[in-house]
C-alpha cells in the first residue's frame, strides 16, 4: 500500500536521534496498550462467566416467583387489574454509579427504595399471606435483576473498550512503527551516501593538489635548468606586478 510511506524529514544527525526516540516511544506505548487490553479481556471473561451464572439463577428465581403468583391468584382471586390500575409512584428505583476498571469507567446499577409500599392494602380481603410472599419473591427477583443489569452494562462497555484498545495496538504495530523504521533507514542511507560523497570529493581534491604540485615542481626544475648554474632567488624588488594587490 502506498499509504505506508516514510515521514518527510530532512536527513540529518539530529533527525536520526529524534526518530530513534520516537521509535522507542511508540514501542513502549504499544506494550502498555497491550497490557491494558489483556487486563480488560481478563475482566471481560470474568464478567461473562458471572453473567451466565446469574442468568441461570435468575431463571430459577423467576420460575419460583411465577409459581407464587399462581398460588396468590388462586387464593386472592384475580387482582391483576386492580394492581395495574393502582400504579402511581415507583418505590423501587435504580441509580447508576461509576466503577473504574483498568482505566475504563463502567456503569453499575444500585437499587434503592423510596417511599412506602402502595400495595399494602391489596391483599387485605383474602389471600394476604400469599400476596405478601409474592411481593417478597418479586422484590428478590428485582434485586437479582438489577445486579444482572449491572453485569450486562459492564459487559457491553468492556466489549467496546477492548475493541478500541485492540484497534490502537494494531495501528501502532502495523502502521506507526514500520513508518518510523522506514524513515530511520532512509535517514541512515542518506547520511552514508553524503559521507561517501564527501570522501570522494576529498580524494579528488587531494589528487588535483598533487597534480598541481608536480606541475609546479617541473616548472621550477626547467627554469633552473635554463638559467644554468647562476641560480638566483627571486628578487622581490625587481617584480613589476604584485599579485597581492586586488585592484590596480
Amino acid at each position: 500500500m502506498s499509504g505506508k510511506d516514510r515521514i518527510d524529514i530532512f536527513p540529518s544527525r539530529m533527525a536520526q536521534t529524534i526518530m530513534k526516540a520516537r521509535l522507542k516511544g511508540a514501542q513502549t506505548g504499544r506494550n502498555l496498550l497491550k497490557k491494558k487490553a489483556d487486563a480488560l479481556s481478563m475482566r471481560f471473561r470474568q464478567i461473562l462467566r458471572k453473567i451466565i451464572e446469574t442468568k441461570t439463577l435468575m431463571g430459577e428465581v423467576m420460575r419460583e416467583a411465577a409459581f407464587s403468583l399462581a398460588e396468590a391468584k388462586f387464593a386472592a382471586g384475580d387482582f391483576s387489574t386492580t394492581v395495574i390500575q393502582n400504579v402511581n409512584k415507583a418505590q423501587v428505583k435504580v441509580r447508576a454509579k461509576k466503577d473504574n476498571v483498568a482505566g475504563v469507567t463502567l456503569p453499575v446499577f444500585e437499587h434503592y427504595q423510596e417511599g412506602g409500599d402502595s400495595y399494602e392494602l391489596t391483599g387485605l380481603a383474602r389471600g394476604g399471606e400469599q400476596l405478601a410472599k409474592l411481593k417478597r419473591n418479586y422484590a428478590k427477583a428485582v434485586e437479582l435483576l438489577v445486579e444482572l443489569a449491572s453485569l450486562q452494562t459492564s459487559f457491553v462497555t468492556l466489549d467496546e473498550a477492548i475493541k478500541i484498545t485492540n484497534r490502537r495496538v494494531n495501528a501502532i504495530e502495523h502502521v506507526i512503527i514500520p513508518r518510523i523504521e522506514r524513515t530511520l533507514s532512509y535517514i541512515i542511507t542518506e547520511l552514508d551516501e553524503r559521507e561517501r560523497e564527501e570522501f570522494y570529493r576529498l580524494k579528488k581534491i587531494q589528487e588535483k593538489k598533487k597534480q598541481l604540485k608536480e606541475k609546479s615542481e617541473k616548472e621550477i626544475a626547467r627554469r633552473l635548468a635554463e638559467l644554468g648554474p647562476m641560480a638566483e632567488p627571486v628578487n622581490l624588488l625587481m617584480e613589476e606586478t604584485d599579485e597581492d594587490l586586488l585592484f590596480e
Binding site: 451466565i52 435468575m58 423467576m62 400504579v87 409474592l134 422484590a139
Partner: protein, 119 residues
C-alpha cells in the same frame, strides 16, 4: 457518584407485569406516561416496538425487563441497541422458560465460551 434515579421498565405479559408492579417498580406520571406495557395476545408488534423505542429514548429509564417471547417478536430492535444504558434484560415467562441461546447479549459473546457453560 450516584446519578439521577432511574426507573425499571417492564414489557411483558399480564402475570409478569402484575408481579413486578406488586414489587413496586411501576410508575404512572401525571402525563399518563407509564413505565410498563402489558402485552396481550392482540397487542401488535408495532405497538410493542414503539413502546420499546420510547423507553430507550427516555433518560429516566435505566433497565428494561422484557419477556423472552416478546423479545423474540422485536428481536431486530433489540439487536440494534448497542449502548450500555438502558440495560435490556430478557426474563422468562410462565409459558416460556429461559432460553440462553436466544438472548441478545449472550449471542454477542458467541465463540468466547464453550457450550459446557450452558449447563
Amino acid at each position: 457518584m450516584a446519578g439521577r434515579a432511574k426507573l425499571v421498565a417492564v414489557i411483558g405479559d399480564e402475570d409478569t407485569c402484575t408481579g413486578f408492579l406488586l414489587s413496586g417498580v411501576g410508575e404512572l406520571k401525571k402525563t399518563r406516561e407509564s413505565n410498563f406495557l402489558v402485552v396481550e395476545k392482540d397487542t401488535s408488534i408495532a405497538e410493542i416496538e414503539e413502546t420499546f423505542r420510547g423507553f430507550l429514548g427516555r433518560d429516566d429509564v435505566g433497565i428494561i425487563l422484557i419477556n423472552q417471547f416478546v423479545a423474540e417478536m422485536i428481536r431486530h430492535a433489540i439487536d440494534a441497541h448497542v449502548q450500555s444504558i438502558p440495560a435490556v434484560l430478557e426474563i422468562p415467562s410462565k409459558e416460556h422458560p429461559y432460553d440462553a441461546s436466544k438472548d441478545s447479549i449472550l449471542r454477542r459473546a458467541e465463540g468466547m465460551f464453550s457450550a459446557e457453560d450452558f449447563r
